[in-house]
């Protein structure tokens, strides 16, 4: 399995050389493995999300692209639209996995499936939850918890518009 963490470390920044700093930065104990694995099946409350024009404008500008035609939303919205629409937040997702700190989260992957283009001022209903949660060890023997969040975005006509999967690593005693 790909480990984002080691890609994160630039050449010359070994884990061993930073152990003292790591200890100082640790903010909470490592959760029990059972506390992580029982997250599978957790469902967010669900809800809806509407991307306003101003939001699409700013999002698109952040990507360096021109605004898309006819009120089409830039797909970059497929990160926060599902999270917020499902009734959760990045902060809550960090907390569910008992992240040591905001800095300890590493991305494994984002998987965005698009079945319909998203449109501004359209109220999408969103559902989501945790599909996977497991304790892992990286090649250097460091523990991390791998949590997989999955969301579905439906149009007002209840057609599946998008599905997103976020896989994060909750590193333990590393940063």
């Amino acid at each position: 399995m790909h480990t984002a963490l080691f890609g994160y470390l630039p050449t010359g920044a070994s884990a061993n050389s930073t152990q003292e700093t790591n200890r100082q930065m640790r903010k909470r104990p490592i959760p029990l493995e059972a506390e992580i694995t029982r997250l599978v099946g957790h469902r967010f409350p669900g809800g809806s999300y509407t991307v306003a024009h101003w939001e699409n404008f700013l999002l698109t500008q952040c990507t360096g692209a021109e605004l898309l035609c006819d009120g089409q939303v830039h797909p970059v919205a497929l990160f926060h639209l599902p999270i917020t629409g499902a009734g959760t937040s990045i902060a809550e997702m960090f907390e569910l996995g008992q992240a040591e700190s905001d800095l300890s989260i590493m991305i494994e992957s984002y998987d965005w499936e698009m079945f319909l283009p998203l449109q501004e001022d359209t109220c999408y209903s969103v559902s989501g939850g945790i599909n996977g949660a497991q304790r892992c060890t990286n090649p250097e023997g460091k523990l991390y918890d791998r949590i997989v969040f999955c969301f579905e975005v439906h149009t007002p006509e209840n057609i599946l518009a998008a599905r997103t999967t976020i896989t994060w690593h909750y590193t333990r005693d590393t940063l």
Binding site: P10, L59, Q61, C62, A91, I105, W112, R163, L175
Partner: protein
């Protein structure tokens, strides 16, 4: 447009990843992680990155999407899966690149599977993944029937 496996996708360049855009993005995403907006927080990490903020993953991914939009049109992207082997830092110049790895038919639609990546001149590949693009890109009136059919099949 004629397509063949191995064809390269025209590159898309982000001349400079700016901290201001990361700040705007963090506010919209309600992302509490200070690595995106606090250079001192990044400097304090034992990673040797210095006082430079780290770009949000979705923003790096969006550069790949911009490349695919410019190539195939804004309605053609069906799926993108990205991994993040290295961070993208503020002030970096990064280039989105890709090529066609396979061509196939599905539900009467031609799909191009593409290998895509984001590259830095010195640090190499920062993001890598695969994308699936519909060809020919559907026009807006065609979207409902084509995509709805695909979406319903996905739902079944």
């Amino acid at each position: 447009m004629s397509l063949a496996v191995g064809d390269f996708i025209p590159e898309w360049v982000m001349e400079s990843v700016t901290p201001e855009r990361m700040c705007t993005m963090a506010a919209i995403l309600r992302d509490p992680n200070p690595i995106h907006w606090d250079r001192d927080a990044v400097d304090a990490l034992p990673l040797g990155l210095g006082k430079r903020t780290i770009n949000q993953g979705p923003l790096g991914l969006s550069y790949i999407i911009n490349m695919l939009h410019a190539w195939a049109g804004p309605n053609a992207l069906r799926r993108i899966v990205m991994r993040f082997p290295q961070v993208v830092l503020d002030q970096e110049r990064v280039v989105a690149k890709g090529n066609i790895s396979a061509l196939r038919e599905e539900h009467g639609i031609t799909l191009a599977d593409c290998t895509v990546w984001l590259e830095h001149a010195e640090r190499g590949v920062l993001l890598e993944g695969i994308a699936t693009v519909v060809f020919p890109p559907p026009k807006m009136p065609e979207l409902e029937s084509n995509f709805e059919t695909a979406a319903l099949k996905e739902h079944e």
